[in-house]
Structures are given as C-alpha cells and as structure tokens.
Amino acid sequence: MLAEIGVGTIEDLFESIPAAVRLGRPLDLPPGLSEAEVYAHLRHLAERNVCAEDELTFVGAGMYDHYVPALVDSIIERSEFLTPYTPYQPEVSQGTLQAMFEYQTAISELTGLPVSNASVYEGPSAVGAAGYLARLANRRERFVVSRGLHPHSRETLATMSAGYGTEVVEVPLTGGVTDGDALADAVDDRTAAVFLQQPNFLGAVEDLEDLVPRAKASGALAVCACDPIALGILRPPGELGVDVAVGEGQPLGNRLDYGGPSFGFFAASQAYLRRMPGRIAGETTDSQGRRGFVLTLQTREQHIRRERATSNICTAQALNALAGVVYLSWLGRRGLVELTELLVARTAYAREALTARDGVRLAHDAPVVREFAVSLEAPVGAVVERCAAAGVNPGYRLGIDYPELDDALLVAITEQRSRADIDRLAQVLGDAVAAERAGAAARAPA
C-alpha cells in the first residue's frame, strides 16, 4: 500500500506534524490484552458494584429499576440499529427515521403536546435546552424554578445559564409541593420561563392546573419536567397549558447503566416548532410516490444555521429513544395504564407500611404516583448503612440535596418490587431506625 501511495514508510505520512509536537515515545498505557482477558478484567470490576440484582433497592430519584423486556434488547442490539450514524442518507436509513417518527408520536401522546424532537441527551440537560429555547424565544433573562425540580436539573440549568446569560431564582415548596403564591410573586415580565416538575423530586404530584396559569401570567413560558411513566396516569402537561415538556427517558425501556446512556425527551406546543433543538423526523414521499421519512426542519440545526442554530446538539441518543418507543409499544395503550395503577397501589401500600413503623413519618402527604418521602427519627446515613448490611437499599437520602430534609429518605417503587419486598423494606428499615434510636438513647446522658 505504501508503494501505491509513493512513500517509503508510514512515518513519511506524518511529516506534516512538527517534531516538537510529536510524542516521540510510546503512550504510558498498559499493553493490549486478548478478548478473554479484557472480559475477565471488566467482569471483576463489575462484580465490585452492588447492582439492582445484588440488593433489594428502592432508590429512584430520577432513574428507576423497571424491568427492561428482552424484546427491547433484541431489537436495539440489531446491528442495523446499533451501528449506523445519524441518518444523513434517508434512502438507506428508513428504519431509523421511521422509528424516530414513531417515537415522536408516542412522546407527543404522553405529553399532550404536538411537537416532539427525536431525543436530547438526558433529563437535566433537556431542562437546560428548554431554557435556551425560552431565552431565544422571548429574549428575557430570568428563570423561575421550583425547588421541586430535580437538583441535577436545577444545577444544569444554572450552569448553562452562565453561558446564555440568565439569572435563576428558586421558589420554595410547602407541604411537599411548589408554593403557588411564592411562584406568583416570583414571576415578573422579565421572566423568560418557569420550571416545574411533575411529579416533583419529592414524588409529590403538582397541581399544574393551578400553577401553570400563574407561571404564564406575565408572558413567561411554562416548562415542565415529567416522569414519562407517571404521564401514563397523570393529566398530560400539554392539556394544562405547559409550553415545553421535557424529561428523563430512562424509565422507558432503558437500563440504569449507572446513569447513562439514556435519553431526554423534548416536546413543545406548535408555536415552538421551528425553535426546537435536535433532530426531527418528518414524513414525505419519494420520487415514485412511496411513503418515506427524512430529517426535517434542519434549518434550525447547527450544521446549517451554525452560530444562529437553535442548539449545538448533533449526536443525541437515538438508540435509547428507539428503546423507548419499543418499550412503549410493548406496554401498549392498556398496559401503561395498568402499570401505573399498579405502581400507585403499591406505593400507597408502601407509604402505609413504612409509616406504620415507629420513628418513620411521612415527609409530606401530597398525592404521589410511584415515589414518596419519609422522615426518620434517626440519623439517615446510619439507618441506610444498617439496611445495606441487610441487603436492602431503602432509598435516596434527600439530605444530599435538601439540607432542610436531612432526616428524609426518598423511596421509589417499581413493578419489580412486590408486596413481599415492600414488607421486607418496612421490616428492615423499621428495625434499623429502632436500633439507631436505642443506640442514641443508650448514649444519651442519664
């Protein structure tokens, strides 16, 4: 091959690289390994993680241990979906493009909004992207954010705001839900957008019917981050005046993967069609009138509009979104309802089972779908460790993000947590709290 090129050595091909910037030594990395050795090494690393198969876990906090049907894996593992690039050549990408179209339809159905893109990175960055949309749409410079919004979303929004230049003010929670009056006070005519979450981070279902009109009172956009599973039973945000609905797509057929890859969904009302970030698939016909699909409205995008693009996103999460629409097809129209009703029933049961134990109280009594918060009359960290020792992960420590809830635990239920599992949690958690209190009493001065 070198002869064909007309050079003597491979070295010659790198002549354009000045000597001064050549590495001139081997990389300081270990030598290569055979496949069996790499597999063994990674298996040993993986075994040092305590995963959802190793303990009975009730951690949620934005990502949930739902069962991922085998059919989802079998489809997304097909090389025809797994290995192609973004569908730049529609004639040989109809599979991906039609799947995007189907995905957009499903998200539109869940959110009650007519416009969905084909995915963004994940939940919190989707919130940041919604902020950018609002910023460009009404050129205002202020965001009002409910404290019920996922802490990662609030932080991501703040990080991105430092770039596109917006200030972020927070509205407190009362009784577990966003304080409507405080919200109304916080919103003014400089407010670009108001950010809510449904259900909010504490699992509480927000009264969007009340909040959204107040949020939009002076022309701000209403943005709502949603749990897509909960949307199976809750009023769709679009029905309640929300302008942009976003969220973390992981619960829809994506594995936990220690946090990613998953996908973010992004839906909006018709008014923002041409301000959407990311890819959008659209239906059209070919030269012979055959139905087909293409990437459309590309003049929004970075590769065409460059510095005037609605977003800089390029590679997104197409494969994860495919898993999402396959999962939703697997659940189906009735299945999603049945799933959410099961979650509501088991969550109500869990709420009672846990609070029936001494030293465990509800942190709020707002209605919930699949996650709720309890306050413990014992140090949460110590209680969690006792539970872990018993093979139970009782939930997420709210104190990590909410100093005011340092005594609270956020408990999530999925269809993989049976009544027996919940009873076990109540037992183990109750015992741990009791043990900690006993210990504290013993340590207390007589």
């Binding site: 090129i5 590495l23 081997p26 004639e91 890859p261």
Partner: protein, 506 residues
C-alpha cells in the same frame, strides 16, 4: 422477468407501515404482575382531577408483531456491520462485539447512578482509569467524563473558558473558529454567550495566520480548532498559533473529532491546547446507534482544572493505611457545575475502556497509523483509477485520516452533483462519504475510510467511484436518478419541511 407488481417483494422493500398502524384493540405484549396489595379505589389514592381522562393512544400490539415490525424496519437501514461507511468526520470504525457484552454485565447495566460510591467501586475505578488513559492520550492532566457528546464537550469547554477568564476578572466577548469548523463549534459559541469571529483558511489548508493575528485581541476568549482539521490536514503552524492565542491571553480549544489520526503520535496538550474534547463514539468505538448515544469527555490543563464540572471521579488515599478507594468529589467551589444528570454516559465509558485495554499503547498508535495509511492509500487509488479529472482532491497534500475531494469539475463537465454521486454509491452497497462539508470546498466529498477496512474494500470503493464517473459520462441520467436498489428512492425533503408531518395523526 422481474417480479410482477402485486408482490410485496423481499423483506424491507414493502410499503412503510408504522407501529401505530399495526395496532388492533385488545392486543398486548405486556401483562402486569398480579395486584398483590389491598385494592383501593383509585380516587382515594390519586384525585381524578390530577388524572388523565383518556389513556395515551399507544399502539396495541403483541410481541410477535413488535418483533417483526422493528426487524423489518431494521432491514431498511444500511449499517456498518453490512458494508463500507466512509462518512468523513464521523470515524465509522468497526465496533467490537466484546464491548456490548461487557457493557451489559449486570454490575454495569443494573447499577443505579445514586448508589453509594462505596458500593460502586468497580464503576468508579473504571471511570478513574479511563480518565487517566484519556489524560495520557490528550497530554493534559485533568479529565471530566461528564459531557454526553462532542458538542456537549464543546459547551463544557467554552463555559470553562468563560469561568477561567471571569475568575480572573477578565470579561471577554469573542470566540474564534476557522471557516472550516464543524457547525457545532459556532453553535456552541453562541450558546455559551460569546460572539463568533470566523478565521480564513490559508492556501495550504491551515489557519490563515495573518487573519488570526488581525483578529486576535484581548476581547477574544478562545480559539476552537480541529487538528487535523476538517480538511483532513494537520496544521503545521500549530505551535505558532498557540503562541499567538496564548499571547492574547485566550485559551486554545481542541475539537477532538479528528483525534483518530494522531493517537500515540501527537498530543493536543503538547500542541499547546488548553482544553480537549473526545468523541468516544468516534475514536473509541461506541456504536453510533443511528444518532447516539455518545460521550464527549474533556481533558484540560492545570489552569482550567479548578472549573471542571461537578462531580469529579477521584481516588482517595484511605486513612489507617487501607487501600485507596474511589469517590465522587462534589467539593469544587469554582466548578462551573453540572452539565447533566448523574455521572455521564457510563455505558459508553465501559466500551471505550474495553477498547483501550484491548489495543494497549502500541495498538492505539497502530490504529492511527493505519487510519492515515488507509486514507492516503484510498486517495492514491482513486487518483490511479482516474477520478482526479472530475473529483480532484481539494488540497493536494499528504492527508491524515481523511481527505476532501471537490465535485466542482464533475458538476461542470458531467452535470453530476456530489449528491448524485453519493446517491449512486448507494446502489454499490456502500454508504457515501460526507457531502457538502466542509463548506469551504465546493461540492465537497469528505472521505474517511478508518483503520478497520481492508485493502479489498478500499479498492472496491475506488472502482465504484470510477465506474460511476464513466457511467455518468455515458448516461448521466442514470446517476442523476439514483438510487434504484434502496427501500425508497430520493425523498422530497422540501415538501417535508414545508408542511411538516412529524407525528402520526391518530
């Protein structure tokens, strides 16, 4: 005799039907576990006014139809495991199957991101080791794995630049990018609140140094570069560029999309870059998935380190002489904060780490050497096949891992546009190169063969291109109306944008 019309023809060739159109009331794949808790009226648990009135109109289909539907859809895609995919700037290299296996290990796939770090030591160690490897490859000491893709890494990088300057009380307003830059660069500049200033390209394909000198000043926060750039050329003046940029107090950002050319050969850090992003879905084999997932980790110099996103994966020395352990460090007062939820696209990290361990130091260097060898061989082969007359190389230099041809003469002489050539290539069972990018080159065709292709494949591609040009000379109409063998022909994109149908009406 060809197949009479009324047959549906082979799988993947039938008329498009959506999963919603396959729905029939009452069918289902999912059955919920039996209700095992006391039944209570829903209204008690969740007030009706908070509940949906109508179920979302999801499809009603059983598993066999779902499987067949998406199986048939998959047959309407061309993919890397089927044929050559020299899509320039995208590094469509083979994705080793091992990577899917290790990513799927339960300890990875079912690990909750909020798991206590003490119970996620394997994952944190993997991330820590990957950070170290990427730092060594970049020649920059500090790495954050958080960004979800290249463009996300760019945003991180420019926000870091902003934080760096502002921390020094230095408010700057402009960011420079060459006119060859990828679209994500300028888009990122705006998103990060800066004003874009374009740099011209010199006749040798590198940055026009005079233009750079003219435009660089104390308003400039950063210069974003790709090296080798999107023309597939290494900018030999990189040291001088770095000097100029640093001289003005600006940072130098490295868009790592083209890193596949120089791993183990030349390091961005040694070139003078302050911030680098990696596209793990390019250089480090994360399958592209039809548009993601990816990951865009960044590596930075000491002066940028304080501002890195939160949390960072670190190794802590344990007290009482125990083994050091791995942890998430949130205590970073100057950090720009989070760019996303949790710790990043961990599943992508697993694949890239497996890749780095499989190849090792030598293998990684050979990877880049072969990528550059293959590109130059294909360029030479195309020349020998006589395509230069209609498809000359845009900048006649030894290229790196990819090269740009211009279809301008082809358009002039044969009335064939680069797009036509691309569509006709589809009939040859290969995916076309990137077209109309970089914008700088008229009728551009950006060809990146990658290191995992054989000589036979490269030869076949050269022959296909030459054959199409001959065909075009004879009967241009054939090429203009291609493709013929694909599930659908050329699609009406104008109509799609004019009257957008972006969801199924139900």
């Amino acid at each position: 005799m060809s197949a009479p019309a009324q047959t549906t023809g082979p799988p993947g060739r039938e008329p498009a039907v959506t999963i919603f159109e396959r729905s029939a009331p009452g069918r289902r794949a999912f059955t919920p576990p039996a209700l095992d808790v006391p039944e209570r009226p829903l209204d008690e648990l969740l007030p009706a006014r908070l509940r949906r009135r109508e179920p979302a109109r999801l499809p009603e289909v059983a598993e066999p139809e779902i499987v067949r539907h998406y199986n048939r859809l998959s047959k309407r895609n061309f993919d890397l495991d089927t044929g050559f995919y020299p899509l320039g700037s995208c590094t469509m290299k083979h994705n080793p199957k091992l990577h899917e296996r290790v990513a799927a290990l339960p300890g990875n796939a079912r690990l909750h991101p909020a798991q206590d770090p003490r119970r996620a030591q394997g994952a944190l160690e993997l991330m820590w080791r990957l950070q170290g490897a990427l730092a060594e490859i970049a020649g920059l000491p500090h790495v954050s794995l958080q960004p979800s893709a290249g463009s996300h890494g760019e945003l991180a990088g420019v926000l870091l630049t902003r934080a760096y300057h502002e921390d020094r009380g230095d408010r700057r307003t402009k960011v420079l990018t060459p006119d060859t830059a990828h679209g994500t660069n300028p888009a990122t500049v705006t998103m990060a609140g800066y004003q874009l200033v374009k740099l011209a390209t010199a006749p040798d394909g590198g940055v026009d140094l005079d233009d750079l000198r003219a435009k660089v000043d104390d308003e400039v926060a950063c210069l974003m570069l790709t090296n080798p750039n999107t023309l597939g050329l290494f900018d030999s003046h990189i040291e001088e560029i770095a000097e100029i940029v640093h001289g003005a107090g600006a940072t130098l950002y490295y868009d790592g999309a083209n890193l596949n050319a120089v791993v183990g050969i030349s390091r961005p850090g040694d070139m003078g870059f302050d911030i680098v992003h990696f596209n793990l879905h390019k250089t480090f084999t994360q399958p592209h998935g039809g548009g993601g997932p990816g990951a865009g980790p960044i590596a930075v110099s000491d002066r940028i380190e304080p501002y890195l996103p939160r949390p960072q994966v670190i190794r802590r020395a344990a007290d009482n002489g125990k083994e050091p352990y791995f942890d998430l460090d949130f205590d970073r007062p100057k950090s720009i904060g989070r760019l996303r939820g949790f710790q990043g696209n961990y599943g992508v990290f697993v694949r890239s780490y497996a890749y780095i361990r499989s190849l090792g130091a030598e293998g990684l260097r050979e990877m880049s050497e072969t990528a550059v060898l293959n590109a130059n061989y294909l360029l030479a082969k195309l020349r020998r096949a006589g395509v230069a007359e209609y498809l000359p190389v845009a900048y006649d230099r030894v290229c790196m891992h990819e090269f740009v041809l211009s279809g301008a003469p082809m358009k002039r002489e044969l009335g064939i546009r680069t797009l036509d050539l691309a569509k006709r290539l589809l009939d040859h069972g290969v995916h076309p190169p990137t077209v109309y990018f970089p914008l700088l080159v008229d009728e551009a065709l950006l060809v990146e063969p990658t290191e995992t292709e054989t000589k036979e494949t490269l030869d076949a591609f050269a022959d296909a291109v030459a054959g199409i040009l001959r065909e075009a000379a004879r009967e241009p109409e054939i090429v203009r109306r291609a493709p013929y063998t694909t599930p659908v022909g050329r699609l009406d994109e104008a109509a799609a944008a004019k009257r957008p149908v972006i969801r199924q009406p139900l």
